[in-house]
Each structure stands twice: as C-alpha cells, then as structure tokens.
Symmetry: D2
Subunit: 101 residues, 4 copies
C-alpha cells in the first residue's frame, strides 16, 4: 500500500532547539533511501506504508538514544486505491487549478 | 517501546457519513485487544508502538476493502523513556493541578 | 459557524511535565464557559468558530506569560452545514453502528 | 503574536478530488497577502496569529459556499517569544546541522 505522509517530531525535555533532532530524522530518511522533503512544519515522505512507518519509528528510537526523554510525534498519512498520486502530483494538481482562472 | 497515541481516519469519496468507517476501526481495535477510547475527534490507544501501528494499518486496509477510494489519517503518537505513563495517568495529572488551586 | 474541535498544546523549554500548562488551558475554557472534554491526547471543544479560536489563543498567550518560550499547538476543527452535530452525537453515531452487528 | 503555521483542509461529500478546494484556499492567502507555501500535505503560512486564523476561517467559509457540506481542517501553529524565527530559518537551521557532519 503506497502512501504520502508527513511527520513532525517534538522532543520534550531538551530545551527549545529542535533542529539537531530533526536533522537526525533527515539522516534516517537519507540512509533508508526514502523520498523526503523537509519544510517548515514537518517532513513530507512517500513510499510503501511499512517503509514509512519503520523510518518514523527509527527516528523516534534514535532521538531517545540521543537522550530525549519524551517525544510527541504527529503523522498525517494518506492512501488511495483509485489511482497513484505522488507528492509532486498533489501540488501540481492544485497549481493547475490556480492558473486556469 | 510503549506509546500513547490518537488516530482519526477521514474516508474520502463516500459522502459525509464517517461513522460506519470509524466503527470498523473500533472493531479492529477490539479484535486485537488494544486498549482504546473513542471520542469526538479520534480514538485514543495505548500499547506497544508496533501493535498500535499495525492496528492503524489494518483499519486503513479494511476501509479500502469496504470501498473507500481515498483515506486521510492523522496520528499523534507519544513515547517517553523517563517513566511509564498511561492515558489515564495523563488526564489524572492535569486534573490534580486543577483541583490544587 | 459552529464547530467541533480538538486542540493540544506542547510547551517547549520547560521540561517534560506538561500538566501545569494543560491545566491552565482548562482554566481558560472553564472561565469562558466553553464546553470541553479533556482526554489523553488533547481537549475536545465545541461552539462558535471564533469563540473556540479565541480561547485557544488565550491559552497560548497565558502559557507564554507563565514563561514558556516556545509552544507548538495542534488543532483539528470541523464544520458542517448539512446538519448540526455535537461532540456527543459524533460518538453516539459510531456506537450505534457497533451495536447493530 | 507572530506564528508559523500549517493547515490542511479536507472537504467531505464532494468526491475524491480536493484540488479545487485547496486552490480556493490558496486564493484566499494570495488575496490577503499572507506568505504561504503549498506542499504535498498542507500549506505553510506565517504572520500575525489573528491574520492567519482569519485566513483559515475565510477558507473554510468559502469552501462551504462552494457547496462543501462538511470540512475537517487540521492546523499546526507555533509561537515563540525567545526569538523571532521565520519558516525559512526553521528549515535552514536543520540543514546547517546536516552539513556540519
């Protein structure tokens, strides 16, 4: 089952700077070869459901290993069986509507 | 890794009534013996990370089998290694603060 | 425009205990007379869109006044114009489906 | 109070194609001159809390006017008082950590 997802991690108990932890998650995605796009409010990913979920779990595990006592993660994950649709196509589809008028 | 989570599914392309699909997800949780609490904006669950994620995936799969072409799911999942904390304890902890004053 | 919503606040830079801040948000809701239900992963609220959003903003402001340097808040908010539906009715609607089978 | 936010709207009861509605929300943001970035799982926005929330509300209202009976919107909104931080700076901050190693 293919999915388009977004996740964001919020480590608690390590101060206000989250970037070292988000960077570690980026490394997880790079190592696993998962297509991803970091943006200001999370990271977009696409691929097989299990691959995505395992990556998110590894990200969580590694952050705990870095010493984070508590983590709140939020995930949006979308699947469709009527047709395939990549992240790029989702954005493209909106942009077409915008330029038509 | 123990987790406290919440998920909500939004089936698209099947009209405005979501309850048959949410009910199917409740059945998945019951069948799997996962502690869960349905509320107005999602379902709270607690247990092992993998158990929770597999249940959410089965819920997604079953909804597609019911004919839902597209599903948007949102998940909040929290882990902590400093101490164990159940869903009930999270609520209790806030209520204590409220009654103290 | 009536809405059913859920919000959860994550204060950063104040350690791992979130309950004092969640409790403060509960007080905001009580003071404003907004119907609310605290659960393990957030607080459900219902009422006029503007009332709900103002309450969430006050909650955010008060947490900063308590000394929280950074806050991540997540909100789900749902509106429908086909019919009215309260939080209680949303849950009831799923439970009916469950008992029918 | 300045905020960095993300929102995504899910119209129900209008089939599986969401792009016309997301496009309408993009128009709202353009008309209001709010800095925004559309991505595969939502739209990132930044500005004054009230400006952002009013834009999201107008987006919701317009979608109902387009005939959408039911809408589920999810919002992440973050504020910080320790320092200012734009959306671009949030991403930059993670990228610096990545290239350092």
């Amino acid at each position: 089952m293919n999915a388009v997802a977004e996740f964001s991690v919020i480590p608690l108990g390590v101060g206000v700077s989250l970037s070292p932890y988000v960077a570690e998650c980026e490394r997880v995605l790079q190592e696993r070869g998962i297509k991803h796009l970091l943006h200001a409010n999370g990271t977009n990913i696409e691929g097989e459901w299990d691959e995505l979920m395992e990556a998110i779990k590894e990200c969580q595990t590694r952050m705990h290993e870095m010493g984070v006592p508590r983590i709140q993660t939020s995930i949006k994950i979308a699947t469709r069986i009527d047709r395939e649709q990549t992240m790029a196509e989702k954005v493209e589809s909106v942009k077409e509507k915008l330029t038509k008028e």
